[in-house]
Homo-oligomer: 359 residues x 2
Amino acid sequence: MAKTSDGMNFAPKGKPNPVVGKGEFVFAAIALDHGHIYGMCNGLIEAGGTLKSVYDPDPKKLDVFIEKFPGTIRARSEEEILSDKEITLVAGAAVTSERCALGLRVMSAGKDYFTDKAPLTTLEQLDAAKAKARETGKKYMVYYSERLHVESAVFAGQLIAEGAIGRVIQVLGTGPHRLGAAGRPDWFFIKEKYGGILCDIGSHQIEQFLFYAGVKDARVAYSQIANFNHPEYPELDDFGDATLVGDNGATQYFRVDWFTPDGLQMWGDGRSFILGTEGFIEQRKYMNIGQKGSGGGHVYLANQYEETYYNVNGKVGYPFFGQLILDCLNRTENAMTQEHAFKAAELCVKAQIQAVKIK
Amino acid sequence: MAKTSDGMNFAPKGKPNPVVGKGEFVFAAIALDHGHIYGMCNGLIEAGGTLKSVYDPDPKKLDVFIEKFPGTIRARSEEEILSDKEITLVAGAAVTSERCALGLRVMSAGKDYFTDKAPLTTLEQLDAAKAKARETGKKYMVYYSERLHVESAVFAGQLIAEGAIGRVIQVLGTGPHRLGAAGRPDWFFIKEKYGGILCDIGSHQIEQFLFYAGVKDARVAYSQIANFNHPEYPELDDFGDATLVGDNGATQYFRVDWFTPDGLQMWGDGRSFILGTEGFIEQRKYMNIGQKGSGGGHVYLANQYEETYYNVNGKVGYPFFGQLILDCLNRTENAMTQEHAFKAAELCVKAQIQAVKIK
């Protein structure tokens, strides 16, 4: 498989826009099981964060990481980082089922936690994370990258906040991904570890629904999973979809799958269609199909007054990271509330638990 | 409301491609309650059909129709058409809840019936239609225009038949429509008459699922309806969506709504995303958002070998109509089987009956 899969190299670069000076916000990385760790660290560094140290039990993963971020201290143990008083936040991209346990250790050590999505895989882990957040007052923040680290997604949020499409009534998202099975670690195909497709890549979708539609709570009205064409990986869900209904009546449908074909220019033609009472927004997040080398950042707006195309590539940036740093320093919740992060986690686990297996 | 709604003027013109000579296939029109009758008659005429006569109790509707199709005989009653031995088929676009009753009279008179979609609104009507088809051997065919009279939809079917995307695993469709309430008749807002949104415009979607995915039977896994923003029309569903699972494991999601905003260049940005094991197809049926005057017929194919854009506007035509004429003459089922037409009707009624009202 010549084509790259997603997470292996997903690390968007934005315009550096530091909110703090050097050394004012020091963080570390623990657990490099998913390539999202690079995007997470990039984002924090561009916002002014100082990456001090890194730990992973696998020396090869550390080699690659330190080559990417030269000058980072190669910690000899997780404990070395957890006991470092200078470090405010630990970023981690552990195996999905181990993300919560790492977070509990990080928060017990008096630090904020910033984990790759999905942030956890069971409702028991969720309860433990909530209890630890209450007990310590520390943050359990989540890298929902398909909104936080995608310029079209940031811009769509700004359009909605300005009232461009009225009240949001439905968020429809598709999150196709290229499997690139040869480049995936073993845990990726073990359901207990990756959590199932609706928990894993579905978490991006549910978080976007809560955000765009202003939903505080929701129910999973229907969800389903399938393994349509990968009998060699019997625990892989290669397809999943779900319908949710929010507490304000807004609804969501999303589909996630591992069927991006090799002929496509990008690892996935991720789309988002946000329907409002006064118009709609389409995002073509990573590419514009049929236009080679089209790049990402395509936003289409139609409302009562206009039909407009925006190319926001390189123009919007990723305000989440600076907001997160300031939230950690000031104990505010402007980047994302803890309640929101946990609600998305809860719903993606519930969508997975309730899912009907159709194939 | 300056913008036109859909059905009022939906009558695609294709390349005339007659399959019979003048007078070899004579048909008539009864019931002009929906503008689709113009597309239905156009399609048959372009395929060589001879439109002989027309009847509707409303003289104004007859005036408009005869102006559009000069030379058509203005029948004085429905009976005049039903007793005309020269007429092989009757096309009708009655109020949705009355389409079945008209069909029963047409078939009892020994003629084939070609009705606008949705072809009926209740399971009792479906039983009566099936019984009449068995009893008379006549056809109860349906103008599922969003596939039959849309070139991208015809072409997508050809690509699938050629194996371009492998086995179809999901059909995802959106069918937004502009309401244009001022131009709609009263019956359009009375649920008993229009049948509900999933039955009405949802019927297009379900028919496409059965066709593209090669599904003979399916279950409605979940469906929902809402009136999000039209309290002045309490019986209008302005939103509906549904998930179906086919007997071969393929699945469908569709959304239909009446929220096309005035700023959009077209009455609806109808899309179809067909996901296969080896690739996918996107259709932008009526427009390409962001490109003014873009017209319809946009098809995007991605598979293991390529990522390709096709503009099929004016290139594919509408083979259904010629096939239907030959089916009537030869008693074959190449245009559409009776079983398929009835199955789509059954499932759209079931989707409506089962629907959860979320707002």
